[in-house]
């Protein structure tokens, strides 16, 4: 039986692909459907992927991770005079930053994108009844000045090194949305045209616009007639949501999908297996990214409060072996939260190897000696037992978790696996610090993202703080706190680098979490598609769709 299915599966690649029509459309499979199309309500990967085709921000990080202009003319800097230091009205050190919008940039109905659209976005974001997600940017940007139809200035009450980045502050079509918002900001989120008529061309200012939506299953994009940049290659792009990854692969193999987006596509291990069988049929690219897989350790647990135990845990975990065997070496092992591709990464940071002998020595030193069943015990006779948690139903993490359990057992540490559905795990257990041992999950960050919310002692979630903050381990380190405060406001790149290096040294020594690896996005493209450049960070490759070409 098994052998027969195997042969059948192999046969699949012997049958010639169906005759292809002229390639003026591209069908892309992704695993998520956006909860909303509104630029500022909820951030999720599916929305930013589709937004890459249909909307443009002022600035973004490019494939080389440098800040670049998409909707603006030049990135504002102190050097080019578009950013100017000044005092805020209440005497603090502030900065004023001016962005000039690209000429010819227009909404899909032909209306130009102007400073008014940016002003409206700022006003809506600053009115906290509107219900936008993060409000920090708008809290800091206390004044907006429209200088001309294509120039807008914001004044900030704090200078950070990322002052030139416009972040989530993107143009909103004021000629469509302003009236809806002004009618009642509280209910604007359900009356916005992005929700009620997402196919209205006036909402989109990218090379494509949304022409049809099928909630939960797909979105159709067609060329935006008023796009003034280089014309994109495809007349139409179909984006299909298929959450079940086995079904996603089946549709790819059946020829119903041209490609699977790496940003939200197949798990890496599934793609490496696919590549072994279908190398001649698709092109594969693995792009290491900013998704940081790690084990958060509960530092309130007396066992884990001992640094030697934390160091022994990382020494007992053969991360290189897991990466080599499960992911064919396609994901870089992490040493701290900082990605090796990040400009601020310290190549000389302490790198813990797999070393069972040293792990054993450290544990013995910490008072944990081998017991009769192979599990270590302390002087009081307590077993060295830790809870190892992750999200139930995430097969990839459950797999890693079981491997780690096996490795720790070799070192005399018992890991008891206890998994919960994501909404319980993230919504309560982790975010309210109710785990007692190790929690396996990932952080998504951006280049040079200061990890304040995960490492500063003020960010330990408590009931008083409404459980905000993400320092789930409960890490307290005065020097780290000082670094996290100094980093964002240090404008000199080299001096900032020194701070970053110190941060990584502390992290690698103290191990508030055990770094595992940075996840890689696995992209699957048809052989005839060229020019897709994965970025590895939160700005997806779709933001450069003009460069996608059909190979001749």
């Amino acid at each position: 039986m098994a052998a027969r299915w195997l042969t059948l599966a192999f046969l699949a690649f012997a049958t010639p692909a169906l005759a292809q029509p002229a390639r003026d459309s591209l069908t892309i499979g992704i695993t998520q459907y956006p909860a909303t199309f509104h630029p500022n309500i909820e951030s999720m990967a599916a929305k930013s992927y589709i937004a890459g085709f249909t909307r443009r921000p002022l600035t973004a990080r490019d494939a080389a991770w440098d800040l670049t202009c998409l909707g603006c003319v030049t990135v504002p800097t102190l050097e080019n005079g578009l950013a100017v230091r000044e005092q805020t009205p209440d005497g603090k050190a502030g900065i004023r930053v001016t962005w000039e919008l690209r000429e010819g940039w227009a909404w899909g109905d032909g209306t130009p994108v102007t400073a008014e659209d940016m002003l409206f976005a700022w006003q809506a974001g600053r009115d906290f009844t509107t219900g936008f997600g993060g409000s920090e940017f708008y809290r800091r940007a206390y004044e907006a000045i429209v200088e001309s139809p294509r120039r807008i200035t914001l004044r900030f009450d704090q200078i950070t090194f990322e002052y030139g980045a416009s972040g989530d502050w993107v143009p909103l079509p004021a000629h469509i949305e302003r009236a809806r918002w002004e009618a009642e900001p509280r209910t604007y989120r359900t009356r916005s045209a992005y929700e009620t008529e997402p196919t209205n061309p006036a909402l989109w200012n990218g090379p494509y616009r949304v022409t049809a939506t099928a909630p939960g299953s797909g979105v159709t994009l067609e060329r935006n007639a008023h796009w003034s940049g280089p014309a994109p290659a495809f007349r139409r792009i179909n984006i299909r949501t298929i959450e079940n990854t086995a079904a996603l692969e089946a549709q790819l193999l059946a020829g119903q999908l041209d490609m699977v987006a790496g940003e939200l596509g197949l798990p890496l291990e599934q793609v490496t297996a696919l590549e072994r069988r279908a190398r001649g049929r698709f092109r594969f690219e693995y792009k290491p990214g900013l998704v940081y897989e790690h084990l958060d350790l509960m530092l309130d647990n007396p066992i884990l409060a001992d640094r030697r135990v934390r160091q022994a845990l990382i020494l007992a975990t053969d991360r290189a072996q897991i990466v080599a065997r499960l992911y064919e070496g396609r994901q870089p092992v992490a040493h701290t939260t900082v990605n090796p591709l990040d400009g601020m990464h310290d190549d000389a940071v302490r790198q813990w190897p797999f070393d069972a002998a040293r792990a054993s020595a450290l544990l013995t030193e910490a008072g944990w000696t081998p017991g009769p069943d192979g599990i270590r015990r302390n002087a009081a006779g307590e077993r060295l037992t830790l809870e190892l948690m992750t999200t139930a139903g995430n097969r990839s993490r459950e797999q890693v978790q079981q491997v780690i359990q096996g490795m720790w057992r070799q070192a005399g540490i018992e890991a008891r696996i206890r998994n919960e559905p994501p909404r319980v795990f993230f919504g309560e257990t982790v975010s309210r610090r109710r785990f007692t041992g190790a929690a396996l999950f990932a952080w998504i960050s951006s280049p040079e993202n200061v990890p304040r919310s995960t490492l500063h002692s003020d960010e330990i979630p408590t009931a008083e703080r409404n459980w905000s903050g993400q320092n789930y381990p409960g890490f307290r380190n005065a020097e780290m706190d000082a670094l996290l405060a100094a980093l964002p406001i240090e404008l000199d790149r080299e001096r900032r680098r020194a701070l970053w290096h110190r941060l990584q040294a502390i992290y690698a020594e103290e191990l508030p979490a055990i770094p595992l690896w940075f996840r890689s996005d696995a992209h699957v493209w048809p052989l005839w598609l060229e020019g897709v450049r994965p970025t590895g960070h939160l700005t997806p490759s779709s933001n450069w769709v003009e460069q996608w070409r059909v190979a001749r």
Partner: protein, 271 residues
């Protein structure tokens, strides 16, 4: 014939499950220890059915899975049968309003789309009611409890119908006339005489529970690893079904055998 074939199938699976530790010792393999150097090995002398995504022996995990899956099936059937028979007897014996309320409840449950409700129940947090979260034993208890919520209905309807006809018989009247207590009548005279239909319903409940466990596993709400159940083995294998189909084929066949076995037993009892 059917009964015997069904019992044979189930017996084989149960024997395999019981013998799992000895077979593991004999093969010298640990069904729970990952071996990263031996992933997706095809069948061989050491691994008769090959290995899974973590290099664990598929045969041994199938046998371990038999323990969990059959336990879920049998425990659900026992729970559902006890509750269902109790309710069925109560309804038949008391009649009137009690009967009407209980049977309307049963009708209502039967007409509900069970799976979506099961999904809500399965996603609910057992930690809130004091059960430990996420451990294998509590997973089994949780799933059995959830499946019993719907499982009792079929048993209750069948046992009520059977009990009604028995209660009308002469020997029950005679027993009552001789002064037997109501409890004695129900336990000594009615229950033994409705055992047949109840056994059929129980066999079908086992089958339904095994299938339902695999469905919940497919949705990521079943028994959590590293414990093995046929459902979670099958669900785990689906991502790599195109590159390592055998990992998915065996647990699927095991479920097929178990469910077919139960159906045959029920059929056999019916004749």
């Amino acid at each position: 014939m059917r009964l015997r074939f069904g019992l044979l199938l189930l017996g084989l699976l149960a024997a395999g499950g019981i013998a799992a530790p000895w077979i593991a010792a004999w093969l010298g393999l640990d069904p729970f220890a990952p071996d990263l150097f031996n992933r997706f090995a095809p069948s061989s002398a050491t691994n008769p059915l090959g290995t899974d995504d973590l290099g664990r022996d598929v045969l041994l995990r199938l046998l371990e899975g038999a323990r969990v899956s059959l336990a879920v099936g049998v425990a659900t059937a026992v729970a559902a049968t006890v509750i269902g028979t109790g309710i069925g007897l109560l309804a038949a014996w008391r009649g009137g309003v009690v009967d009407a309320v209980l049977m309307r409840l049963a009708d209502g449950m039967l007409a509900l789309p069970a799976l979506p409700v099961l999904v809500v129940l399965a996603a609910a947090d057992t930690g809130r009611i004091g059960l430990p979260r996420g451990e294998a034993a509590s997973d089994i208890i949780r799933i059995v409890a959830i499946l019993s919520v719907f499982g009792w209905v079929g048993v209750a309807r069948l046992s009520r119908a059977a009990a009604l006809s028995v209660l009308a018989r002469d020997y029950v009247r005679a027993a009552r006339a001789l002064g037997a207590s109501e409890l004695r009548v129900l336990l000594r005279h009615v229950l033994p005489n409705i055992a047949g239909p109840i056994a059929i319903a129980a066999a079908l409940t086992v089958a339904g529970a095994i299938l339902a466990e695999s469905t919940l596993s497919f949705l990521g709400l079943g028994i959590a690893p590293p414990a093995a159940s046929w459902g979670n083995m099958l669900a785990n294998a689906q991502d790599l079904v195109f590159s390592a189909p055998w990992v998915a084929v065996w647990p699927g066949l095991a479920i097929l055998m178990a469910v077919a076995g139960c159906t045959l037993v029920a059929d056999g009892l019916r004749r």
